[in-house]
Subunit: 259 residues, 2 copies
């Protein structure tokens, strides 16, 4: 870690007023110089969405002499990172942290998550990045337990440097401090959501749907994030954005594409 | 390929009226029984977004005796796939095709793309899936050239079966038929967008931003999708949704997480 305080960009997908974000700010304020650029409204489930067909607004919500500079943004979590890096920050940040998400981003949830997509976007732009999530959807979830773990994980990343093209997906079980067994490096469990749409009618009689579903873990492995979380560990999955399925290329090359 | 016509789900991110979708429908109608569930408006750049905080509408836009059944959906491309599979289709489709996207989804674009995210969602749900894109943003782009290639790729997938957890990202160069050299299996090029936000003012004097940017390919490899497209090939990248960076786990296990 350099002697100059690291510059840390903080964002999330639950919006700038979310308690999870406030906890993350509290931890990061003890580590570095921080700047917050977060969505002005909840943006859960936005994945890696960007705003291409509409305009974007930034509002500075901190005062000029506040220690922490904060902006709200009308766009998605990924928009927040892009605007922060290109329009607000004078230099590339040393770290981007996203969260703390109210709810799990383990397993396949990584792909739907605005929190993780913000971290991935930072990674694409060459910024070390970590997404933090707690397995508790409650707005008033207890984030205090997580603080020393978040501090530890952040300091490890700042000191050791992440490999190029890799960001971290960190999930916390909903447990008391003394119940947490430690931090565990994991792989993403093979799981999916089985949807059960809730079909309703408007007062005018038109059908509409609410997305609902059940998370189904099909993976019995003991090296997965789901296993770690169920067994009292904080899960850390290294996440990449080169989506190439390299293991499939030799098989595909045996197919008769050009005959 | 079974003797029963395969059931093919078609979607896109440019919306149900896009010419690219119409071309894809024309090709698929010769191969299988098809059903279209596509967004009712453009949803480019929506990535893997899902609608969790709002309602979803489906409108049947084909008539009861039409050969092809078509629905428009108020949600994202991923919502379209989820609604099709869970609320419309009586059995799991044999294939999901998405596109033809007006514009490239090669390289890192795969992660922002609603077209590809629809294909990935199908893959997560265990449905073989292909996303098709043309390197031409024009609404009136020439999709005719692509038809025999799309037919060939689709038949190969139906006959040979894709490995579990793998979908295909197919991109076409903007070339005449005689200029296309063939189909090439590739990896995702390491590239990114360098943003240049266009800052403007509303008539009331408030600043706003339009996302704009320049695509920068940092990858000199001759096995990438970018290389293939620049050299006259149709690129096919196998894409996975297990985002674990397995190559980073042994390094991360040497860090002092629990000290």
């Amino acid at each position: 870690m350099s002697k100059v305080k690291p510059l840390i960009l903080i964002t999330n997908d639950d919006g700038v007023s979310a308690p999870g974000l406030r906890t993350l700010i509290a931890v990061m304020a003890e580590i570095g110089e921080i700047i917050v650029v977060a969505p002005d409204k909840p943006q859960s489930g936005m994945g890696h969405a960007i705003t291409t067909n509409s305009t974007l607004y930034l509002n500075k919500i901190s005062k000029d002499n506040d220690v922490i500079t904060e902006y709200s943004c009308s766009g998605t979590p990924v928009d927040c990172v892009k605007l922060a890096v290109n329009e607000i920050l004078k230099r590339k940040p040393d770290l981007c942290v996203s969260g703390i998400n109210h709810g799990s981003n383990s397993s396949i949830n990584v792909i739907y998550s605005g929190t993780m997509s913000a971290a991935v976007e930072a990674g694409i732009e060459g910024i070390p990045a970590i997404g933090f999530s707690l397995l508790d959807f409650d707005w008033n979830a207890d984030f205090e337990t997580m603080k020393p773990f978040i501090r530890k994980i952040t300091l490890e990343v700042l000191e050791n440097k992440l490999p190029q093209g890799v960001v971290l997906n960190v999930n916390f079980p909903k447990l008391k401090k003394e119940e947490i067994k430690g931090i565990k490096i994991c792989r993403q469990a093979k799981a999916l959501w089985i949807e059960k749409f809730d079909k309703r009618q408007t007062p005018q009689g038109r059908d509409y749907y609410w997305l609902a579903g059940e998370f189904v873990n099909q993976d019995k492995g003991e090296d997965t994030d789901e296993w770690a979380l169920e067994n009292g560990y904080v899960s850390v999955v290294p996440v990449q954005f080169d989506l190439t399925a390299y293991h499939a290329t030799s098989l595909l090359n045996t197919w008769k594409w050009n005959e």
